[in-house]
Symmetry: C4
Subunit: 212 residues, 4 copies
Amino acid sequence: MSHAQEQQLERLTFFSDAVFAIAITLLVIEIHVPHPVDASDGAWAHALLELVPHFIGFVLSFFVVGALWVAHHRVFGLLRRYDPGIVWPNLLLLMAVAFMPFSSSLMSTHPTERVPEWFYAGNLLVAGLLQHWLFRRALKAPFLREDVEEETVATTLRRTLALPLMATIAALLAIRWPGPSNLPLMLMPLAVRWFARTARRRPVKPVPDQAT
Amino acid sequence: MSHAQEQQLERLTFFSDAVFAIAITLLVIEIHVPHPVDASDGAWAHALLELVPHFIGFVLSFFVVGALWVAHHRVFGLLRRYDPGIVWPNLLLLMAVAFMPFSSSLMSTHPTERVPEWFYAGNLLVAGLLQHWLFRRALKAPFLREDVEEETVATTLRRTLALPLMATIAALLAIRWPGPSNLPLMLMPLAVRWFARTARRRPVKPVPDQAT
Amino acid sequence: MSHAQEQQLERLTFFSDAVFAIAITLLVIEIHVPHPVDASDGAWAHALLELVPHFIGFVLSFFVVGALWVAHHRVFGLLRRYDPGIVWPNLLLLMAVAFMPFSSSLMSTHPTERVPEWFYAGNLLVAGLLQHWLFRRALKAPFLREDVEEETVATTLRRTLALPLMATIAALLAIRWPGPSNLPLMLMPLAVRWFARTARRRPVKPVPDQAT
Amino acid sequence: MSHAQEQQLERLTFFSDAVFAIAITLLVIEIHVPHPVDASDGAWAHALLELVPHFIGFVLSFFVVGALWVAHHRVFGLLRRYDPGIVWPNLLLLMAVAFMPFSSSLMSTHPTERVPEWFYAGNLLVAGLLQHWLFRRALKAPFLREDVEEETVATTLRRTLALPLMATIAALLAIRWPGPSNLPLMLMPLAVRWFARTARRRPVKPVPDQAT
């Protein structure tokens, strides 16, 4: 039966991968081909300049969804089988991810308005919290691979706090500076690393190395 | 040859997963970015309020397709190889699933009209019946894993009755109350559980435990 | 190295499956939500009636792409590794499949005009010929699983002739009867079976059973 | 742990495959169904003629993305596990690939204008350089399969230079001849082969055959 359970984990992983891959690739279809007034380089420069918020939104959302996938990939690599109870939390996370093409497009179309920024930040906040909840449920005793250390789990969970925090900061900044308010999201790699380091600095009770 | 057959089952599963994943992610692309009259919070509140039926439709259809995937995932996890005769029933179920982005968008665009509600409920009814038919054909003697008990099969088949029943109720309610008529669909987790329990309560002839 | 080669075959199969799955699911997004003049049942009946060619086109193309996938699935299940020379023929077949959402939508939007029918039939003809070419190249001596009989290969290749033949008939009929000209395509399951039987009836030199 | 690492490589490969497959299949959705003035063959010929740049763009981009996938497929087939450091370079390559449906559609919609040609060539140039960077990082000592020869790695890296070179030539030609400037891209198979041969001609220090 253990082989069957492994296959089921593989399939859950697979389905999640597919949703991540589709959502990340659909980000582009909301960028529409411009029709400048004439074929001159000037008209084109103007037309492409107007698309810049869409390009930034595409890159930003690609990184966010990419980071969510990388974390999902890392966490599911720590499991040897799965708690059936994570199927729906996983689907909820995927729902937040599948919603990204809309909220990303909403923000890119209205790049300096407050409400779309809140909407986008809200989507990221929800995705981040669902990710934290999912990982907390998945990374538990009988489901973990035997060679996974307690510290790895703690660090992984801590890292998931970066996205909700950064999304909250972006939402607060959007009250005054919609648009530039997204800058903190670009600092997310630093935030993730900072949270990871915090976890490591905390005194951890020595765990007997199970991999020996 | 048993290895090859297992691979074929994997590929059938895989293709199905991909169609589920694409259909569930495409649900979002029918939600269009609004263009409120101005950038004020009031205009935005109004614009987003008008999108609420689309958001509800997205969430509802995400749960329906998600539930169909979870059931498919569970059932195919009970098989060790497959009856070639299920390939086309499986494709028919996928067709009903692939059609969901259209019927979901139709209902969300006309959230209080009778015909779109019927159309949506009809799609769910067809999907539910096809699912029942597929599972009935797939969960049979030489194809099941050896450790699967008869009761599990019975329960699984019973659970598939929840979707057709709820879709029928939604269609009947839509005659009078199009829109709120979808409420029973949100009770589906309860309905599924109720059907599952019914199966268990029925006296089952004791089956010798094949897993020893 | 044999394990690595098997993995490469798996990945080729996987990529193909994904393209089939996406193309088959994208068929729906060309069906646009109607906006009837009012919410009466009559106005809706009229609006949905106008969509009927799109529904037929969706179902027809779903079956065609589905049948192409089923055949691909069956053929790749006969291989144990692959001739690197089939990678590009396989990509060409996938190109014809990926083009189907456009030609299907073209035909559905202009359901009784000659040129769109030819365009659609042409796409099917090309897909059918590429499929035949691919299978002929793939199903060869060192790449086949050992237990595959010569007759199975012959039957499989014969079956691929049904699609080009039916597409040609549909194109010829479209000269006079664009629209109903697609009827032969619905007879394809019969045509496939007829070609399969033809192969079997031909006297086959007795092949020593390699599977012992 | 080696089994787990292999699975992680499989999943990275899988996610990449899915993005390639979606991007390659989305290329078609930017081709819109024409509405000729009447149903005559002449009006249709005219309407389809206007779509020719879109058809060429579809085929060209399908081959480019297809070639990028084939190379990715070949390179990842040489690995037995992966350097975690390639996850983000891989995502960057996928971002360039996921952007192709937009730049391809931009070029097809404005087939004889300079800026869209530059935009398209720029996308290809970036994709080519990212591919080279990724492969250079991935194809390194502890991660390679044991039976992979040094020469194979050198040839593979050399082949990746064809795309950036051809994209640069296309961009330069577009200054004068936007449109025909894409011709060198169609010569890419030749360019790839030429680069591959160059590598082989260079005197290679004899490497003891590790596969013996």
